[in-house]
């Protein structure tokens, strides 16, 4: 059994806030927020089901952090509402919303020990000293830091600090957990471990969680649903596999994962590319007969060694189960193709290959 499994098992009867009671419904209705002429949010609608972890993903400036801060109460929307189980909270200050938040920067209070940090919210709620010490220790045990309660933040590593911050956020038994890029300051290995830890805790506690990140791997690996934001709006929100396999718009397709841009020849509601006819998928954003390219994932292409093939293998990168091949098709077109490594044994750099489309429909976007 893993450490989280063991600690969760021990904590089951005592420390877990909510105890997996299903959490709170969160609704963001028509949220708008402008900073001068910049519209950070432009009518954002989002609903989080009880106990769900939703990640907001998007490039810098897309409004994801603004949305989170409005939910937390640190900022007020120009228009729109934030409902918790149907109650509008927009008028409430942050200290009366009962939300737990883990921040991007290290937010532990430097003059308090880890235990005092975790107990801080309980102290403000007039919980007795004995009780808050007991709960703080249990929560530290929950995050695997039961032996670090007496340490000050500067005596903890970045990963440990964020785990204490998580324990502190959960200690007040919040209705909603808000995560504002809590892993972005950590190194890669700790980031992977901690995201698994956070996800395991969130699922066990069953707390509704809104998670903001610009790291798509984090979002895809942790969230029940991922919302991709652009210019203050949600482009698409869907479970990670659906978002990846069926992006609703060209922006989502290009933002999530790697995408090839393949020139197409348009014929009515069909296109021709790579020697094959394909349907145009809904969500394509090309008007009329404007020049277009198809967006095709590396795994959406197949290749066959062929002396008369139109492509030349220029590079091969072994990635474990798959190998990524870079194929030069023409002076203007280079493709990335992912194939199972067991299938690429007979292919070498410099070989001629034939590249084919796997699916029979494609998403189109305007050509540059």
């Amino acid at each position: 059994m893993t450490m989280v499994g063991r600690t969760l098992g021990r904590m089951e009867a005592t420390a877990l806030p909510h105890g997996g009671n299903g959490g709170t419904t969160v609704e963001l209705l028509g949220l708008s927020r402008a900073y001068g002429s910049l519209r950070a949010l432009d009518g954002l609608d989002l609903r989080l089901e009880p106990g769900e972890l939703v990640a907001l993903l998007g490039p810098s400036g897309c409004g994801k952090t603004t949305a989170l801060r409005i939910v937390a109460g640190f900022e007020a929307p120009d228009t729109g509402r934030v409902l918790l189980d149907g109650d509008d909270t927009v008028a409430l200050p942050p200290q009366r919303r009962n939300m737990g938040m883990v921040f991007q920067g290290y937010s532990l209070f430097p003059t308090m020990t880890a235990e005092d940090n975790v107990a801080f919210g309980l102290r403000l709620r007039k919980v007795s000293r004995t009780e808050r010490r007991r709960r703080a220790r249990e929560l530290l045990e929950l995050v695997g830091l039961e032996h670090h309660g007496a340490h000050f933040p500067h005596q903890l590593s970045g990963g440990q600090q964020q785990r204490v911050a998580l324990a502190r956020a959960l200690a007040v038994e919040p209705r909603v957990l808000l995560l504002d890029e809590p892993l972005s300051a950590l190194d890669a290995k700790v980031r992977v471990q901690l995201r698994e830890h956070i996800r395991a805790l969130q699922q066990r506690v069953g707390i509704t969680t809104l998670f903001v990140t610009h790291d798509q791997e984090e979002a895809m690996s942790m969230a029940d649903r991922v919302g991709v934001m652009r210019a203050g709006r949600l482009e698409q929100i869907a479970p990670p596999p659906e978002l990846y396999a069926h992006p609703a718009t060209a922006f989502v397709a290009q933002f999530v994962g790697t995408m090839n841009r393949v020139p197409v020849e348009r014929r009515g509601d069909h296109v021709h590319l790579l020697g094959r006819r394909a349907r145009v998928r809904p969500g394509s954003t090309v008007a009329g007969s404007a020049p277009a390219v198809a967006l095709v994932r590396p795994e959406g292409l197949a290749l066959t060694p062929d002396r008369h093939g139109e492509g030349i293998v220029t590079a091969m990168t072994f990635l474990g189960y798959v190998t990524r091949l870079e194929i030069l098709v023409s002076a203007e077109l280079a493709l990335k193709v992912d194939r199972p490594s067991v299938e690429t044994g007979g292919i070498a750099v410099g070989d001629a290959v034939r590249v084919e489309l796997v699916d029979d429909d494609v998403l189109l976007t305007a050509a540059d």
């Binding site: 109460g73 990963g159 600090q161």
Partner: protein, 293 residues
């Protein structure tokens, strides 16, 4: 859950060994050379401060006939006007410091937390009390102060508060820049802390050193200020020293100066101890060096 492994290994306590290794990395010869430089700088700086003090101390024990005497020191407490002047300076320093801290700390926090665009304005404003001549400050305050205040020496405390403003604000500003105060405030508020709780339990403990540094400067400034007190014609301790020197024994006057310096140092030491005295140590030090990054 099975995928979550090794969490106990996330993070750990950085051992001080790295610093030791860095020191060792300097090499014995280089370290010795550095030590010489440090010693030389220390001697020069020490001489700069201590030689004038030594000269003054020596003078205070001398007599006009070339002999030695402690009469300048023993006669000091009984010297005419010494007690009132000393107490007035002490009182004014206290009032001015409290006034400055009460005005500047909230103002600095509001500027940093709510009105960050005003920081540039405050930066300029903090230079004004330093560059504007004292007489201009006095005339300005006399024009603005209510009549009842003009009739008391506490007008001087107000003037000292203006003089102390740059020192306390700059010190506070440096303290606020050294911490991620915005995140700390957000964290406190998300946990249920109102503004007052956040200020008292989160910000103040983190700014204690910065505020005390500013306070120390403000006390020293107010206790030793001469020009404004002289222009306002109040007999503060520095003014008394000059007047006494002109009409009585210069040795006593110098002894009083050294005594004033001693009092200021004691005050500063007390404030410094107050600032550092509440630092807590971990109650336990388990597996301090055993964890990974």
């Amino acid at each position: 859950m099975a995928a979550v492994t090794g969490l106990g290994g996330i993070g750990g306590v950085a051992p001080p060994a790295a610093r030791l290794r860095a020191r060792r990395g300097l090499g014995r010869g280089r370290w010795r050379e550095l030590r010489w430089w440090r010693l030389a700088v220390l001697v020069v700086v020490g001489a700069y401060f201590l030689v004038p003090l030594y000269a003054a101390l020596r003078f205070s024990f001398s007599t006009t006939t070339g002999g030695w005497s402690v009469s300048a020191w023993t006669s000091l407490p009984a010297a005419q006007g010494f007690g009132p002047a000393f107490l007035l300076s002490l009182r004014l320093a206290l009032v001015a410091t409290v006034l400055t801290v009460l005005l500047v700390v909230p103002a600095g926090l509001v500027v940093h937390l709510r009105l960050p665009r005003l920081r540039a304005v405050m930066d300029v404003a903090t230079t004004l009390p330093i560059v504007i001549p004292p007489i201009v400050l006095i005339l300005g305050l006399l024009a603005a102060a209510p009549p009842w205040l003009k009739a008391t020496p506490y007008l001087l405390a107000l003037e000292y508060a203006v003089l102390g403003f740059p020192f306390v604000y700059r010190s506070l500003d440096a303290g606020l820049r050294a911490i991620d105060h915005a995140t700390l405030v957000d964290a406190s508020r998300s946990l249920g802390g109102g503004w007052m709780v956040t200020f008292a339990r989160v910000l103040l403990p983190n700014l204690r050193t910065a505020i005390l540094s500013g306070t120390v400067l403000c006390v020293a400034l107010a206790f030793g200020e001469f020009t404004m007190a002289s222009l306002d014609q109040y007999q503060t301790f520095p003014v008394w020293i000059v007047n006494f020197d002109q009409s009585n024994s210069p040795q006593t006057s110098v002894a009083a100066s050294i005594a004033a310096l001693g009092v200021t140092w004691i005050l500063l030491l007390g404030l410094s101890l107050l600032g550092g005295g509440r630092k807590r140590r971990p109650r336990q030090t388990d597996d301090a060096g055993g964890a990974t990054p």
